[in-house]
């Protein structure tokens, strides 16, 4: 297991290196003069030039890149041009928000998607299955910004049960924290749960047709361990893969949701940084997303490995 993790980390190093290169080149590729943007409208040429020198834009690409990379390795992620604070502290401040939303979304996907998919599989082509198929099709088709509007309109504006905007940290109370999370998580979770249910149903039905399930039935073992052990363990692997892909897409999902619900998370941070040409933050955010995807994929591999002994060996 450790060997697998080590190998995966080592093989992702070149990829991460490329990501740093691309992230860093961004400031050279995008239109608009950085120094002018930071200086703000109406600033005179002198002021723009001062800023240019202050943040090192007058130096060559290579030397800037090397010193940035060196900073990354020593834990210095740079300083935001907008707030003047270190990017790492900006990132850490916003991380809990996005992590909470992501965790909530996953929870909904698993707690809602898995049982629905399982029940569908067990009662395939019966009325529950048909209803769920329709419901999941709707869940997959709804655009999340529309869903967000409907949810806010219903639960915040009309019923007044839940706050429509903002975020409170868990430190100022679990209940308010959760209340703020419900709508963003539902917005993302409906799609994820629908996708999950479909995948679980499909792989359940696929595994059910396998000869080894026939063997297990012929052995006369009770239905509970048939489903729980023989079918689920084999059907879980594709479902886990889908879950992993969904998780790596979540980071882009949070951009929209955090914007809509005004939650100060990573997604909102990204949008703000892009608007204000805050390149140190943008670069770190790109790298962060890439690493997030690498780690998720590794986690899937580890789980996969646990579920599928064939992979475990090779």
């Amino acid at each position: 297991m450790t060997a697998l993790v080590t190998r995966r980390l080592l093989t992702s190093l070149p990829m991460l290196f490329l990501v740093t290169l691309m992230a860093f080149s961004l400031s050279y590729l995008l239109p608009g003069d950085t120094a002018t943007a930071i200086a703000g409208e109406g600033a005179n040429a002198e002021r723009v030039e001062a800023i240019r020198q202050q943040i090192g834009l007058d130096q060559g690409f290579v030397s800037r890149y090397v010193s940035w990379l060196g900073g990354l390795l020593t834990g210095d992620l740079g300083t935001s041009w907008v707030t003047g604070q270190s990017v790492s502290s900006e990132l850490l401040r916003r991380l809990p928000v996005t992590a909470s939303i992501a965790a909530g979304t996953l929870l909904i996907a698993v707690l809602l998607g898995v049982p629905i998919g399982l029940l569908q599989g067990m009662r395939a082509r019966r009325s529950f299955d048909r209803a769920a198929l329709l419901a999941t099709a709707v869940g997959l088709a709804i655009p999340n910004f529309w869903l967000a509007t409907i949810l806010t309109g219903t639960f915040s504006v009309q019923l007044g049960w839940l706050p429509a905007l903002g975020y409170t940290p868990i430190s100022s109370g679990v209940v308010p924290w959760m209340k703020h999370l419900v709508l963003p998580c539902l917005t993302l979770g409906v799609f994820a749960a629908a996708e999950m249910a479909r995948q679980v149903r499909t792989s359940y039905l696929h595994v059910q047709e396998q000869p080894y399930i026939q063997t297990a039935i012929a052995k006369g073992i009770p239905a509970r361990s048939l489903v729980g052990k023989h079918i689920m363990k084999n059907a879980a692997a594709p479902a886990i893969t889908v879950l992993g892909i969904r998780l790596s897409h979540l980071i882009s999902g949070t951009v929209i949701v955090e914007e809509i619900f005004g939650a100060p998370g990573i997604g909102k941070f990204a949008i703000e940084s892009i608007r204000s040409h805050d390149f140190p933050s943008i670069q770190v955010l790109i790298l962060f997303s890439a690493m997030f995807v690498v780690i998720i994929n590794m986690a899937i591999d580890v789980v996969y490995c646990f579920l599928n002994p064939k992979v475990r060996l090779s």
């Binding site: 000869p211 080894y212 026939q214 063997t215 297990a216 012929a218 006369g220 073992i221 084999n234 002994p309």
Partner: protein, 686 residues
């Protein structure tokens, strides 16, 4: 077909249908019974309904099917309407099942030990630890070496033969009264087949179980069964005591099955093929004999009404209305032609003429990595020499893992050799540049095993056959179309087939299309890699006759690869026997088949099961299973499985020794050294 007053399992009037509004009846009017300690064989081709009849008896039918009539009574309990909870008291505890494909019949995510122990814990209430111990004992019972280690294996860590043993261990774990084995050896090599059949027979006798053995192979049925039921298109067409039924078949289908088997027909004659195909369930005739359209003895009355079951004797019956008047050929007395000493003087594979194929010191090594990342070499093919003249068939035979298919791919340079030469039409393929190789390719074609995977499902048959001509010839569309019709005609298919898609064709028809496609470029050499192995017995005979006809009429050279020595002998002029990457024996087909010199060839021959005769067991066996081609045994590669191995076998690689009657054998014991001669004579070698 009641023999004992109280059969253990009795199926009567069973009908299985598809669920839904327009139900198709897949099997009808099935009556079977088996008593304690007795073995019943069910024989039939694919689609005959033999497997689902057994599944229905166990309540494990696929969800799309249901029992719509009849009863299944097991030891006084009627099973067809039992709920799952009650069935679970019988399944696994009193009836065990062994399925066809051992590797897919074991759960890939659970250890073998877990899967065996599971049944014991459920049915016998054993503790986790005790059940595990019992699983180890059971693996020992089915003769798996080092059972305490193997018990922790996952299925993919086992060979097919070993997985089948594990599956048998699972089936007998609770010492059932009845064991149902559904094609238990079809997916296995012939040498392993014999081991598994021996194992099943001894377990049956030790545990006093009744055994139902489902198979398409008459030889397997003969070896194992007291009584046999022959199924065709969803009905039992004949049943009776095995020996009697094969000696004097009462139904034309049984008779035709026997005479289409290659082991039973003199070499050089064409096999008696049953024309046409087994009908699909939606085409089952309702008011006619279902076999009439393929039957040589059919008369108008046969298609006027469905024949009733006609008892012949107490334990014998048939579903043929002409039973009283027909004298059907059964198993012949051992044929004079096939038992006579081979005409060794006449049979010589070394004749003059340009070779269509010349293979010289061919080597293929693959580099692989072990699980720990260590570099290893797979010795897939080592020092293989072959030659083949136009209009002849070279049979290549050996177990899976012997390197046959690698040789096939090397012959066409689908993969690059590590060394040696492959000369086709005077050109050494191994050295040809890509564009020249492409030109050369039209001289050599291949027909693969799986007729379902080798035709593009989106192209119709005509397009598939025309495609190679598009690449290699410039001809008008009309001319190409004419040529497609001509090719279809040559392989015995109707021109209308050109517009059909492969999905609409049966396995045998698809294999004909694959051959037509191979013929499109007028090749001098066609390599058939297990081209008939996936086909039903009756269809197999059609394809074999087709290949022989093409060889004789058109002078095409064939390399015919198969694992079944009897089929290879029937088809081929010469035979090369491969073992673990090397050719161990080579020579004229009759000499190799009738006077085999190499112990491996003899072991292969001993595993050919002939229908109708209880083979006098020659005692030749290949011990255990074929070793890994990574790090193969030193000296003679067969020595680790050879009954006669002596010291020199490990020390030196045996060189080809010319054999009387033509060809050679690479075995130290074939040398005229007095010591070796004594050993072989003691084992009955003359």
């Amino acid at each position: 077909m009641n023999t004992s007053p109280m059969p253990l399992l009795e199926i009567s009037g069973l009908r299985i249908s598809t669920r839904g509004a327009s139900a198709l009846h897949l099997v009808e009017d099935i009556n079977l019974s088996v008593g304690r300690g007795e073995t019943l064989g069910i024989v039939g081709e694919s689609g005959s309904g033999k497997s689902i009849s057994c599944q229905a008896a166990l309540g494990i039918l696929p969800s799309a099917l249901e029992v719509t009539a009849g009863r299944v009574v097991f030891d006084d309990t009627e099973l067809t309407h039992l709920d799952n909870r009650r069935l679970n008291h019988i399944r696994g505890r009193r009836i065990g099942v062994v399925f066809q494909n051992p590797l897919s019949s074991l759960n890939p995510a659970l250890t073998v030990g877990h899967q065996i122990a599971e049944g014991l814990r459920v049915h016998k209430g054993l503790s986790r630890k005790r059940a595990w111990q019992r699983a180890v004992e059971l693996l020992d019972v089915v003769r798996i070496p080092a059972p305490h280690l193997r018990v922790k294996n996952y299925p993919h860590e086992m060979s097919g033969g070993m997985a089948q043993r594990a599956l048998i261990a699972m089936a007998i774990a609770c010492e059932p009264d009845l064991l149902v084995a559904d094609e238990p050896t079809t997916a296995l090599d012939v040498t392993i087949q014999l081991q598994i059949l021996d194992l099943l027979a001894s377990l049956r006798d030790e545990l006093g179980m009744a055994l139902i053995l489902v198979s398409h192979d008459l030889g397997v049925i003969t070896r194992m069964c007291d009584r046999v039921a022959v199924m065709y298109a969803g009905q039992i067409v004949e049943s009776g005591a095995t020996n009697e039924l094969f000696a004097q078949p009462a139904h034309p289908y049984t008779s035709a099955l026997i005479s289409s088997s290659a082991v039973n027909v003199a070499k050089g004659t064409s096999l008696t093929a049953i024309p046409g195909q087994v009908p699909r369930p939606r085409d089952f005739p309702t008011s006619a004999c279902r076999f009439a359209n393929r039957c040589a003895h059919a008369e108008p009355a046969c298609v006027a009404e469905a024949p009733a079951w006609t008892p012949i004797r107490e334990d014998r019956g048939t579903r043929c209305r002409r039973v009283a008047e027909l004298e059907l050929p059964g198993l012949r007395e051992p044929d004079a032609a096939s038992t006579a000493e081979p005409d060794l003087a006449a049979a010589s594979s070394e004749s003059v003429g340009d070779a269509a194929l010349d293979v010289h010191q061919l080597v293929k090594h693959f580099a692989v990595r072990s699980s720990r990342g260590r570099r290893q070499v797979v010795h897939a093919v080592d020092d293989v020499n072959l030659s083949l003249r136009p209009g002849r068939i070279l049979g290549l035979v050996g177990e899976s893992g012997s390197g046959k298919s690698t040789v096939a791919r090397l012959l066409l340079r689908l993969i690059d050799p590590s060394g040696g030469r492959v000369v086709v039409m005077g050109e050494d393929l191994a050295r040809l540049k890509r564009n020249l190789l492409r030109k050369q390719r039209k001289h050599m074609q291949m027909v693969f095993q799986d007729p379902y995977g080798t035709l593009d499902p989106l192209m119709n048959v005509g397009q598939s056959i025309a495609e190679p001509m598009l690449v290699h010839f410039s001809m008008s569309a009309a001319k190409r179309r004419d040529r497609v019709f001509e090719l279809l005609d040559r392989v015995g298919l109707d021109p209308s087939v050109a517009d059909r898609r492969p999905a609409a064709l049966s396995g045998g028809q698809r294999q004909r299309v694959a051959i037509a496609r191979a013929l499109a470029l007028n090749p001098t050499l066609i390599v058939c890699d297990e081209a008939v192995s996936a086909l039903d017995v009756s269809t197999r005979a059609q394809i074999i006759n087709l290949i022989q006809g093409l060889k004789e009429r058109e002078g095409i050279a064939f390399v015919f690869i198969a694992h079944d020595l009897a089929t290879v002998h029937h088809v081929s002029d010469d035979i090369a026997v491969m073992y673990l990457g090397r050719v161990v024996e080579y020579g004229p087909a009759d000499r190799v088949y009738l006077a085999p010199a190499h112990p491996y060839t003899r072991a292969l021959l001993a595993s050919v099961l002939r229908p109708g005769e209880h083979n006098e067991d020659s005692g030749h066996r290949a011990i255990g299973e074929i070793p890994s081609p990574i790090d193969p045994p030193s000296g003679c590669r067969f020595r680790t499985r050879c009954q006669f191995a002596v010291d020199i076998c490990a020390a030196e690689t045996p060189q080809p020794m010319p054999m009387p009657g033509g060809g050679w054998s690479a075995c130290h014991l074939n040398t005229p050294s007095p010591e070796a001669a004594v050993i072989l004579t003691a084992e009955g070698f003359s």
